[in-house]
Amino acid sequence: MDLINNLAMGFGVAFTLNNLMYAFFGCVLGTLIGVLPGLGPVATIAMLLPSIYSLDATPALIMLAGIYYGAQYGGSTTAILINVPGESSSVVTAIDGYQMARQGRAGAALAAAGMGSFFAGCVGTIIIAAFAPPLTELAFKFGPAEYFSLMVLGLIGAVVLASGSLIKAISMIILGLLLAQINTDVISGVPRYSELPFTNINFPELTDGIGFVVIAMGLFGFGEIIANLGQPAEHREVFTKEVKGLWPTRQDFKEAWPAVLRGTALGSLLGVLPGGGALLASFAAYTVEKKIAGPNGRFGKGDIRGVAGPESANNAGAQTSFIPMLTLGIPPNAVMALMVGAMTIKGIQPGPQVMASNPQLFWGLIASMWVGNAMLVILNLPMIGIWIKLLTVPYRFLFPAITLFCCIGTYTLNNNNFDVYMTAIFAVVGYLFYKLKCEPAPLLLGFILGPMMEENLRRALLLSRGDWSTFATRPLSAGLLIASALMIVVVLLPSIKSKREEAFQEAD
């Protein structure tokens, strides 16, 4: 049994005192970073890159991996407690998680997120070990047309996610895609939309694009604060004083388990696809759970499945997204790109040969992922009580603190106050969206996928010599597009039905 031999070797590497220490350090640091909104794993890993010169390759990568999934975990904590998703992949966790927190069930939400993540992490680790080679074959079959169609599917999934009007949600996605067009064109190198119209005022800072964190902070963090303060204290949407237990009830367990299983399966699958990873996985899982819950459930109003599903999915996705990185050398996201950078610093050429040339590193890293996940659960479950105490702090102390952390977070993105000013603009936009009942979550997803989508669209068109039918004639791409079309039909069905009923009632 190769698998068992390999894993045994991996655990041999992971369980040395030195490596355990680095895994622990990475997890603690990652959790901390995840909890502080705005400070992402990308920034932290970038800052730590110089320090790994003094480390061996294996402990260095183990530590960086620890930061990565620690941050995933910490990001969901803030999403649940204060509705500020610390990571892009916890945007959907905020929807039901925050509602649960408001109803005094933050403990159950945090525990569900933690245990779901741990389970998904275990499964993800086994999947990497067992399926890394065959799964890379599938990734090889993906061309630009397939990537584009996959992202269309992801975006349609985001539409299903919005609880309001379908057409407004689609508009928000396109708005997000457009905001992502403010950058330097990757193919021609032309800076786009960095000049104020009719003037010569130019913003060189915009040629790098607007930061994801800037938009997320403005729309979610500040928009929410302004909306909360705008209401009289007695109507304010804060938390119930009574906290109903730290642990999920038996009923919660019964509901959460199937969601965890589904989320894990979905996450492991989507994580392998470069470009999607944890983010697409969590969005897709939320969509699936919402469909399963049906229109009459309390989904969107604090359903534990809306936390357990996406959280398991994003952790499984985070785990399996190591597959394209370790086997193909293709980084599926910014964090993985930095990991590739770290490997090259240590003189390892990432790619299919790593498994053969550095088996200690490869299997040690995989085993340490499991160890890291176990540490996170041990670390975080006792912390739930402390996090909950945070919620009992009066709002007049809490909102200045959130404002401060958001401000510091945006400033440290580039050590530049331009980002802080941009956040102020998006705070106004966020409040506007709130007033107009436009949901910001689809916009954020569109914004994240925008550049990748454009690149793949243009590449696909280039390859097909301008023939749009390439998206329909390539079987994998066609399948993905058909799936998106089906999703729209499914979403439309109930509303068509209810519209019809309205019409009938009027006729009476």
């Binding site: 457009l178 603190a401 301008g466």
Partner: protein, 151 residues
């Protein structure tokens, strides 16, 4: 013509205007052809789509009756302005005056946005948060944030 849903009317208008603005901007960049799409290709498609969707939203808001009329409601000018001013102030002051002065300034200004403003509580909050952010961001994470004025 009467607006049947205020929220939808204004959001549709927003999509329409933003779409047209981006479409106008896209004309500055080369379109290319379908076989060789230029930098203006994708933005133009998107902005035209957004403008069309915006127009549809506006149209439905004028035709389909909605219960209650979805009013936009009053705008919370006070917290809106105070928060925006506070963030801008933070951005302007931090590089010049450093963490120790900027954080208390931010906290005092922001706390003003709430309806309860007690000097003692705000003062304690400022001190605690200044020390906390110094410990976590400067000491713990080693971020390069100016701490003292002129540094």
């Amino acid at each position: 013509m009467k607006i049947k849903s205020q929220q939808d009317f204004f959001s549709g208008l927003m999509f329409l205007v933003v779409g047209l603005a981006f479409a106008y901007g896209a004309t500055d960049y080369s379109m290319g052809a379908a076989a060789r799409p230029g930098p203006g290709y994708f933005p133009l498609i998107l902005s035209v789509l957004l403008a069309i969707l915006g127009a549809i939203v506006v149209f439905t808001s004028l035709t389909i009756e909605v219960e209650g009329g979805d009013p936009v409601g009053h705008i919370a000018w006070r917290p809106l302005i105070i928060i925006v001013v506070a963030i801008t102030l933070f951005g302007a002051l931090l590089p010049r005056l450093g963490l120790v002065i900027t954080v208390p300034v931010l906290i005092v200004v922001v706390s003003w946005a709430g309806e309860e403003f007690k000097w003692l509580g705000v003062a304690i909050n400022s001190v605690v948060l200044t020390v906390f952010s110094w410990l976590v961001f400067v000491k713990g994470l080693g971020l390069t944030i100016p701490v003292w004025p002129g540094a």
